[in-house]
Amino acid sequence: MKLTGAQITIQSLLKERVDIIFGLPGGAIIDVYDVLYDSPIKHILVRHEQGAIHAADGYARATGKVGVAMVTSGPGATNTVTGIATAYMDSIPIVVFTGQVPTKLIGNDAFQEADIVGITRPCTKHNYLVKDVNELARVIKDAFYIARSGRPGPVLIDLPKNVQQAKTEFKYPKELNLPGYNPKYKAHIGQVNKAAQLIASARSPVIYAGGGVIYSKGATEALKKLAEDFSMPVTNTLMGLGGFPGTHPLWLGMLGMHGTYQANMAIVHCDVLIGVGARFDDRVTGKLEEFAPDAKIIHIDIDPASISKNVIVDVPIVGDCKDALMKLNQALSEIHVNWKDKHKAWLEQLSDWEKTHTLHYQQPPDGPLKPQYVIEKIYELTKGKAIISTEVGQNQMWAAQYYKFDKPRTFLTSGGLGTMGYGFPAAIGAQAAFPNRLVIDIAGDGSIQMNIQELITAVSYKLPVKVAILNNGYLGMVRQWQQLFYKGRYSQTSLEYSPDFVKVAEAYGAIGLRATKPQEVETAIKSALNTNAPVFIDFVVEKEENVYPMVPAGAPLSRMLLV
């Protein structure tokens, strides 16, 4: 029997076991939505396409599965671009379907036409304009594979309206047709042995683990074994949080611009650095020339282009993190060294640094509410078991510093692109994937307003996402930079006029709570946790609190501002 392109799209999604789509219909995708009407796939109708793409991203980060977003042509498609770029920078598997004007109108400046394939070329792992319905099933098959395999990433499929309507025989291909695409999963054993020899010669090694450890299934266990069996400390990047237990004695905390003192000192003083699934981003390395100045560097990554891109490494290992780590564990276990004794002095040194420069803040009992205190209370009252998403800026850094993540896929944050407005729709996506888990977005008063319209999505689908707004009346991180590096000239960072977030919540049919004093924090959080509905909590916090420690942009990690 012949199917239309629209039917083939939905049938192919079923073959890929897609259970949920985030989207918003329009004229150029209406045929697919017509088929969706009778299909078992759940659809979450957002209020802005940026919400759809971030929700698909949050779904993907929380589950490890491919997130799916569907939007119309032109503005529908362009509204997803920020979300696609967000997913691209953080290697998140998403397949985005965009409607497109009929093929004969393409290039004619038709109504709601945009060259979305051209626009998204540099921020997708791959993208397709399907011009022939006979190619459609093959394209969808390849797209899902590309999105989830190797270093994951977003893939966009542009579907002209006449292709959605054209008919052909449907057969979902069994094999892939990607001759030029062959991700390398197996780590080269010779390289692994070189790495093992290097580690055996080290006195002060440190493991620096990124998001790759979370995306490679089973890698977190292998990482834990590497750290424990060979007595080596671990620091995580922002994207890596949850890849190693945040309560583990060998954990140093996050490194980089707002990393802990001991993590950054570990990088400065280590003699062997083992990078795993991380990409030596500038927010991590600080001044490149002085990054890990005394260390030989081992780098495990599935993307060869990430290796020696910023920092020249001594032992590159291309492969899947889990495979490489397991082989490395095996190779190290064959070397007879008393690892505990060998690294004892180093671990003691690190522990001293932690004691002298621990993360800290002061919450005066009657003084203004400190944002860090709010995060610590959320951590305490959720027993560290929530899925936390964040917006971007100070809220994100305090969440990263003061919430301890023990499990992978529990921290959803826009690390690479730094997209304000990401956290709330991402939380909705994660909540849609796990209706019974606790999902909390840690937001700022600036960020939350960037996708606040999605509150009605949460309300209408009964997705009980909690949003903790750290309301300091500023675009706080930019204000912090202005204070520290621009002579306190707060150019356009004051959010003196903001909506009443409690009333906003109520207007949307959600619950709105407020805490302005330290004594009110616990009650507010408990009340939110006991509510099976979306909740905004407006935490009115100290206006000019800064995130410390801080390495100024472009400075070496050794030059930390400590307060």
Binding site: G118, R121, P122, K125, H126, P179, G180, P304, A305
Partner: protein
């Protein structure tokens, strides 16, 4: 495909000195010959980034192997009667060809590697060049010079 490659180079700040695209013997696959420059780390990064593009089948760095390269140029040079003989001599030395003649101009076709073209263009400059169109370099790795023995094949 061309836009993906060109976009990659501009997006990542690599430079393209020349670029040439055409079909290969398999009409499904085209060959892009691209000339670029950079230090070792940049060239390595360029190769890796190109390999990441999904529909690139293979990346070959011809500077690492024995290869032959050619470029063609069409040059419209001022050729007033008093200089025609000299221009023709130069063209002859470089094995170029005059492919169009007008009262004031010769249009010359010349093929060779980058050095030869450069030298030729420098010489013609003395007579005033009006326009140049260059194809950019195409190149192939050299085939093996020794005949394979039967059993090896």
């Amino acid at each position: 495909m061309l836009t993906r490659v060109a976009g990659l180079f501009s997006g990542r700040g690599f430079n393209i000195e020349s670029l040439c695209v055409a079909e290969t013997i398999d009409p499904q696959i085209s060959r892009i010959t691209l000339v670029t420059s950079g230090d070792e780390q940049i060239i390595e990064q360029i190769k890796k980034q190109l390999n990441k593009l999904i529909n690139i089948v293979k990346v070959i760095d011809l500077s690492e192997t024995e290869s032959v390269e050619r470029e063609m140029a069409l040059i419209k040079v001022k050729a007033t009667p008093e200089y025609r003989a000299e221009i023709l001599r130069i063209i002859d030395i470089f094995r170029g060809k005059v492919i169009d003649v007008s009262p004031d101009y010769y249009t010359v076709e010349i093929t060779g590697d980058a050095n030869k073209l450069q030298a030729f263009i420098e010489l013609l400059r003395h007579f005033k060049i009006k326009e140049i169109a260059r194809t950019g370099t195409v190149a192939l790795s050299r085939a093996r010079k020794v005949f394979k023995k039967k059993e090896e094949e």
